[in-house]
């Protein structure tokens, strides 16, 4: 009897875990099936190597996505350049340095930060960060990739901090004790022992942060200006893959080339996040080999 129960429970949990795979496969299939039809009207080459996206053109529409991929990579890279050092630093502080009382204040504050809706952050991008950037760089407008990066960094921070903090906290005390015993200072122990030992968790936090940044829509939509031109730097306006889908999917008549092209953009987005995860897996696997 209890064996049967055990089996049933085992099966239930298997089903729960398995459903993730099913959903993933379903999403992937739907994307691919719709995306493929885009290439009945748009050539592969024009789509993947074209640099002009203009489906509602005055004349012939064009469906090139290079500049959108560049835009997505730029905003994400910028966000990580800001968020990773800040986030890991904050995590190390909370996990290793802060007094319990400070921690008690910081942790909920970070959780609240995670709870701010993306529209609100986007709005801050328009009225606060934008003008600041414009002033700092002598531009007329601050709606650009840098603005998006800063906002995305703010949005990725809570994830990076909390996951990194857990990882740092999970480092066995023996490591630190051994380090202190060898005469290392607190700083040396933190930077040379604790953080490297928590590398996997920190890498995981960065990947989650990248995922957040790549997929975030509303904030970039509001703060980056959405110009479709190829960006030449962080001070140019950009239009990311997500923003394009969000802007255009609402008005596109079903079953048109434009509609399927948007699914193709979605598929590209999916492949990018898959790639990010694979890379992360490889990094952590390599690290594991090196340190064993």
């Amino acid at each position: 009897m209890s064996r049967l129960k055990e089996k049933a429970i085992h099966f239930l949990f298997f089903l729960a875990a398995f459903s993730t795979l099913v959903i993933l496969a379903g999403i992937f299939l739907m994307l691919v099936l719709n995306a493929i039809r885009a290439f009945e009207d748009v050539s592969f080459r024009d789509f993947f190597f074209g640099t002009r996206w203009n489906p509602s053109a005055y004349g012939e529409p064009s469906y090139g996505i290079v500049q959108m991929i560049v835009s997505t990579f730029m905003t994400t890279l910028g966000a990580m350049l800001i968020a990773v050092p800040l986030g890991v630093g904050a995590a190390a502080y909370i996990a290793e340095v802060a007094s319990p009382r400070v921690r008690e204040v910081l942790k909920p504050a970070i959780e609240i930060l995670a709870g701010i809706p993306s529209v609100v952050i986007g709005f801050l991008g328009i009225v606060l960060v934008g003008p600041l950037i414009a002033d700092a760089f002598g531009l007329s407008s601050g709606l650009n990739a840098l603005n998006g990066s800063i906002l995305l960094a703010v949005m990725a921070l809570p994830t990076i901090i909390s996951v990194s903090e857990d990882a740092i906290r999970a480092v066995p005390t023996e490591y630190k004790e051994a380090s202190y015993a060898l005469g290392a200072s607190r700083w040396t122990t933190l930077v040379r022992v604790t953080i490297p030992a928590a590398f996997q968790g920190i890498a995981a936090s960065v990947v989650l942060g990248v995922g957040r940044a790549v997929g975030e829509t509303m904030t970039v939509l509001m703060a980056t200006g959405n110009a479709t031109a190829m960006p030449h730097g962080f001070l140019d306006s950009v239009r990311t893959l997500t923003a394009t889908i969000a802007i255009e999917l609402g008005e596109v008549p079903h079953g048109t080339a434009h509609y399927y092209a948007l699914f193709a953009v979605g598929a590209v987005l999916f492949v990018i996040s898959l790639g990010v995860n694979l890379v992360a897996e490889m990094i952590t696997a390599k690290h594991r080999r090196l340190t064993k």
């Binding site: 099913v22 299939l29 004349g59 007329s140 407008s141 340190t291």
Partner: protein, 334 residues
């Protein structure tokens, strides 16, 4: 570095090749699941339309979606209308004229707000799906060309505007302004204003450097902050309740061509008589001749009281000619 062995250890690895078989099975199940959901979606279009006329005792709902230029105005009209008709609930959302028209074609709504006429392609698609679009003009707009208050330029010709938005004129000095790179603000393709301005003024493709903003107020906010900015918005968004231009903005006078005088959209006659080159009607489309609560609402919009609200929101009342055409479309005799 022997001591820094990862503490998160090995639980992350996916061991064994059983994984592959699992993935394959998952794909199969996914496919099956998907075909079920797709079949479910196919039937969705039917039966959703026409809620507005099917009320028995409970509240009747009118669903309105579309033009971002019209959304505030129609919301105000709906509020006043609902005060008089507590049994009718009017839900107004934006998203752009294209979004509204697409929703009308997909039978998701009762009225589509549009700041442009329907394209022949859209009418064809609607008819294929059994939707018979019927349009009335509910207000007039003088599409305002706005720049930052500090810009020492007061007027432009339509041709100059076109060249600016095509990206051919890049610097304000080329049209008699200061030496500053022009920063273009426009809407995205879901917007009727985007299409209207493209076809009427740009007559070509917008410069890819134009920033695509997601609403009239988004443009207003940006141009207020951008000394070199230029944008186009429905006149109601450029002025406040008393008809004064919003602080920080300047509404340009626009000339049909180099010979014609530049005209401001801030005067009602200029728009009503069509002297302002960017005067345009604002539409509402329904599926077939409106009936019941929907007709009641449209009649309210066209009434004296409704048109007063139009004026209060910064737009202009329709002309007697439009009124005549509307009545003909609606089948009203008076």
């Amino acid at each position: 570095m022997g001591i820094s062995r990862s503490p998160l250890g090995d639980e992350v690895t996916l061991e064994g090749f059983g994984m592959l078989r699992l993935v394959r099975a998952g794909l199969l199940v996914g496919m099956a699941l998907l075909s079920v959901t797709m079949a479910g979606c196919g039937g969705r279009d039917e039966g959703k339309g026409g809620t507005a006329s099917s009320g028995k005792g409970e509240k009747v709902l009118i669903r309105i979606r579309g033009s971002d230029t019209l959304v505030n105005l129609v919301q105000r009209l709906a509020e006043e209308f609902m005060k008089k008709h507590p049994d009718i609930w009017v839900a107004v959302t934006g998203g752009g004229s294209g979004t509204g028209i697409a929703a009308l074609i997909n039978k998701e709504i009762d009225i589509a707000n549009a700041s442009r006429a329907m394209k022949s392609k859209e009418i064809k698609l609607a008819k294929e799906r059994g939707v018979e679009p019927v349009g009335v003009v509910i207000a007039l707009d003088g599409l305002a060309i706005i720049v930052n208050e500090s810009l020492p330029i007061d007027s432009l010709t339509v041709e100059q505007l076109g060249r600016i938005y095509r990206g051919e004129i890049k610097n304000w000095s080329e049209v008699g302004g200061p030496d500053m790179e022009i920063s273009l603000y426009g809407r995205t393709s879901a917007s009727g204003t985007f299409v209207y301005f493209r076809d009427k003024v740009v007559k070509g493709d917008y410069s890819p450097k134009m920033k695509g903003m997601i609403g009239n107020s988004h443009i207003v906010e940006a141009v207020k902050k951008d000394k070199a900015g230029i944008g186009y918005v429905g006149i109601g968004y450029a002025v406040d309740e008393k008809g004064r231009v919003e602080a920080g903005l300047k509404v340009l006078r626009i000339a049909k061509d180099a010979q014609s005088p530049a005209v401001t959209p801030l005067k009602v006659e200029n728009v009503k008589k069509g002297l302002y080159p960017l005067a345009r009607p604002l539409y509402q489309f329904t599926n077939g001749k409106p009936k019941g609560a929907i007709l009641e609402f449209i009649r309210f919009e066209l009434s004296e009281e409704g048109q007063k609200i139009v004026t209060k929101e910064g737009f202009y009342p329709i002309t007697p000619d439009h009124m005549k055409a509307n009545k003909k479309v609606l089948g009203l005799s008076e």
